[in-house]
């Protein structure tokens, strides 16, 4: 029936046009909202309920799909819970608290608020806890710890996270006060070089907060010199001839090279500095 076909075609055209119009209206409204300043970026301004649910569910699905391939070692056998607690005390406690121990002010004023781990640490699979701790959570206050804690230290942390929800306030207090010698181990190796991994390192040591870096997206900053076309520069910080070896030396210990420099010591381990230097010297080639 031609009349019916034409009606169907009209209907499809009408729906398509409607969809395009809605997308254009939505995008325009979004731009107007941002430019007018009406969208609040204050941490005191609560998210909508739907935003919360989307963030929570999105996190779960994302972690599950990325963490399922992680092979979990036998934590009871290889993970040292004292070491895990040392990492937790040094890096996690201030935002997440512990049984009977409040989080510090840093962990109270954020939005989204860092989770209390009594529930998630008990319920989440070890691989998921490992993944979130190692990789962090984008657009939340949760940092990635891969460049601060060794893999063994991360598994020890996971083992401690699994044990912590089963402690009473008194048990935690006893455990914490008896465990004062263990240290949280830092990474000692960098793995195989790739430009992508070098870029992650440059971000993870916050280099891009002060430097524009070739090939990377980041804040527009004028604090330190631009590192685009770095290999063409003759001097590092105006004092060292620009070679890869000197660049590694500079990244690892800037104030040792130039005592009054404003570039801080970011505790970069040498294997990481070597990969950063390799990237910077090659960038733009």
């Amino acid at each position: 029936m031609p009349a019916g076909k034409i009606a169907n075609r009209h209907k499809a055209l009408f729906i398509a046009t409607g969809a395009v119009v809605l997308v254009v209206i939505g995008a325009t409204a979004g731009v107007v909202l941002l430019l007018s300043g009406a969208f609040s970026t204050a941490a005191t301004k609560q998210h909508f309920r739907i935003t919360y649910r989307i963030l929570e569910q999105g996190l779960k699905y994302s972690v599950a799909s990325n963490a399922d391939d992680i092979v979990v070692p036998d934590l009871d056998r290889v993970a040292d819970i004292d070491v895990g607690h040392a990492c937790y005390r040094e890096h996690c406690l201030q935002c997440h608290g512990a049984p009977g121990v409040a989080r510090e002010p840093l962990g109270r004023g954020q939005l989204p608020s860092p989770s209390s781990l009594a529930e998630s640490a008990r319920d989440w699979p070890a691989a998921h806890l490992f993944y979130v701790t190692q990789q962090g959570v984008r657009m939340s206050g949760m940092p990635a710890w891969e460049y601060r804690i060794s893999e063994q230290g991360l598994w020890a942390t996971v083992a401690f996270l699994k044990a912590m929800p089963r402690m009473t306030a008194d048990e935690y207090k006893r455990f914490a006060s008896s465990n004062t010698h263990a240290q949280c181990p830092r990474p000692t190796t960098a793995g195989e070089y790739s430009t992508e991994r070098a870029q992650i390192m440059l971000r993870q040591y916050a280099c891009d907060n002060c430097h524009i870096i070739a090939g990377m997206v980041g804040p527009i900053t004028h604090i330190g010199p631009s590192l685009v076309d770095w290999r063409e520069r003759k001097y590092i910080a105006g004092v060292l001839p620009n070679t890869r070896e000197n660049l590694v030396r500079w990244i690892v210990d800037p104030q040792g090279v130039s005592p009054h420099t404003l570039m801080p010591d970011l505790e970069v381990i040498e294997p990481h500095a070597e990969q950063m230097a390799r990237y910077l010297m090659a960038a733009g080639e």
Partner: protein, 111 residues
């Protein structure tokens, strides 16, 4: 003498040199061949890569990686960098105070 005059642009207050003539400064930067070591927008043949590029200089919080970027500090640095940072590769420049003021004025106004 008030040396620092604030300039409100897009909510920022960028450094300016009082008593410095930016247009003269461009000529000074050219005459003293600063471009052998630095890229300086608007200065002919200033393509050097020995020192850092000097574009968008007013927006930079720091000078030579060691000092807050303030007009009087920049003038001193141009005249005698080694007195402020003995290890630096930047040499002292035998130019008049007025030349240094003008050069600094140009750096703060160029893009």
């Amino acid at each position: 003498m008030v040396m620092l005059a604030g300039c409100a642009g897009d909510g920022e207050s960028l450094p300016r040199v009082s008593g410095g003539d930016a247009e003269r400064g461009r000529v000074v930067l050219d005459r003293y061949q600063c471009g052998v070591c630095h890229v300086i927008p608007g200065v002919p043949s200033a393509f050097g890569k020995v020192g850092p590029a000097l574009d968008q200089y007013a927006q930079r919080p720091y000078l030579a990686g060691k000092f807050p970027n303030e007009p009087e500090t920049l003038v001193r640095w141009i005249l005698d960098a080694p007195s402020m940072a003995p290890q630096t590769a930047m040499p002292a420049i035998a130019m008049s105070h007025q030349d240094a003021r003008d050069a600094a004025a140009y750096l703060y106004t160029s893009d």
